[in-house]
Amino acid sequence: MRRILSRLFSSVLLLWAVFTLTFLLTRFAPGNPFSEGRHLPPEVMAHLMSVYHLDRPLPVQYLLTLRQTLEGDLGVSYKATGIPVSEILSQTLPVSLSLGFAALCLSLFLGLLGGILIGAGPPLLSRILRQATTVLVGLPSFLLAAVLIDLLALHGGVFPVALWEGWRSAVLPVLALAVAPAGYLARVFAASMEETIESPFYRTALAKGVGSVRRILFHLVLPSLNAVLSLLGPLAAAFLTGSFVVETVFAIPGMGRVFVLSVMNRDYPLIMGTTLVYTVFLTVAILVGDLLSEAVDPRVRSV
């Protein structure tokens, strides 16, 4: 219980640090959010700056924004004039979450299957798959997306090129998002299984003559699963970064795309909102991963 409380405390610390850093980065960025693409009369500019409190001294702006954020108000987007950031987030977050969840399921399936085949499959297949994961882990998601679009959408015509309408349009982005993490998972899982194979209890099972399916499933795969659980944090980070690219490529109205566009547009409240939501998401993923792996394997706790 004390451990969880201390973890929660450091999560709050992280949120505050990210808030402050993002605030400083946006305020020290050259130019201002309203100067791009159009020339405004000075009095209009001055009015805009005062409406959004951008003419106040920096510490005042900081405290104002902090209080507003603590009250749960993320402010109003500069670019999509008048639309609250929370409304934009509540529309785009579900899209990103369902995309990410589908990709997580797919990559878990592929990664575990690949890991089992590398760790316990026939030697030739194991070697081929091991080499393949080296390439997959290094494969940037935008390249995979491009290949998929070129083959299956532009020339094959099997799936739509872009947008987010119905399950057919989800197939390619989910695939593009899931493959690299799956390769990573397979490698970690295979390495963990190699360790298990060295362990005394696996050798005991081998010596006792436990049937091969039972041996592989219960004496090899299950004890090795723990390595995968503690990967939940890094995986969440990988999906997040992947979503910036994949949502941009497939023109999916999700949060990754909103984040990239908000940085391009210098839309301060939107940058702040997306970054904070991402931070919450990441800390929750890491926390859940750690708690799960502690629950499964109490030895982790003492380390």
Binding site: L25, F142, D150, L154, V245, I286
Partner: protein, 276 residues
């Protein structure tokens, strides 16, 4: 003895092909004129989107009629420079943090490690993207942003290495023979962490290359007409409906270099006993 020699050599087997590939890539990037002989920025109106092997253009031309091969070669220099610089800079930042944390011990070590852990929760590209807000779009900006985004893994490894070496017998021997602290660090400690530092640089280079190409692809990194693999992929992506070549060539360069660097770092790390 001969047995030992053979085992050592075979542990580097498979590192030779990636090494030669990278050597070729570096030569290509450093000596562009002798390989292409064509200016990468000259536009030929008649050769817009020409396929490969059209009138002296080995890989064809892009949507402005610029020679793809020479653009790719000049982009290689940019991408490799970014990769190597990110490798070095992030290792320097992470190294200083990790070694200091390991050497200072309590009460600094737990605080520094806690800070690191908190920072580690954020993905490299997220940090780098936010930093690009302030830094602008230049080469240096990309290098600094990616290095600040990704030094944390290096710090962890080097802290562990520092803790291990601090207790080593030769350090005790040096300490007890009355060597000054500065000499202890520079003559006895640093030469012994150098192998790990080198492997870390090598591990971070593909991260830098991938980071640059991702940022540039999203339009947040380097901007045209500056050519880099990321910028070329971005352009090739836009031209995908009309021609796949503009995407295929830079993509092939990125994948080949990433995989080569990864295998090389892996092999070198295993040979020098740096765990990963």
């Amino acid at each position: 003895m001969s047995q030992g020699g053979r085992v050592r050599r075979s542990s580097f087997r498979g590192g030779v092909v990636p090494f030669l590939l990278l050597l070729a890539l570096v030569l290509l990037a450093l000596l562009p004129e002798s390989f292409t002989g064509i200016d990468p920025l000259t536009q030929h109106a008649r050769l817009v989107l020409a396929p490969p092997l059209t009138s002296g253009h080995l890989l064809g031309c892009d949507f402005l009629g610029r020679d793809l091969w020479s653009r790719l070669v000049s982009g290689s220099l940019v991408s490799l420079t970014v990769g190597v610089s990110v490798g070095i800079l992030s290792t320097v930042i992470g190294g200083i943090w990790g070694i200091l944390s390991g050497f200072l011990g309590r009460p600094w070590d737990p605080v520094m490690m806690r800070t690191l852990e908190i920072w580690y929760a954020l993905p490299e590209i997220l940090i780098a993207t936010l930093l690009m807000l302030v830094l602008g779009h230049g080469l240096l900006a990309v290098v600094v942003a990616l290095s600040i985004g990704g030094w944390m893994g290096v710090a962890r490894v080097l802290r562990a290495e520092t803790l291990r070496l601090r207790e080593a017998v030769f350090m005790d021997a040096a300490r007890s023979s009355g060597v000054s602290p500065l000499r202890l660090v520079f003559r006895h400690f640093l030469p012994n962490v150098m192998p790990v530092v080198l492997v870390m640089v090598l591990f971070r280079i593909p991260g830098g290359i991938l980071g640059e190409s991702t940022l540039s692809f999203l339009g947040l990194g380097l901007a045209p007409p500056q050519a880099s693999w990321g910028v070329l992929v971005n352009e090739g992506w836009k031209a995908l409906p009309v021609s796949a070549f503009m995407l295929i060539w830079p993509a092939a360069f990125i994948v080949l270099s990433l995989v080569s660097f990864q295998i090389l770092a892996d092999r070198l790390g295993r040979r020098l006993g740096v765990g990963r």
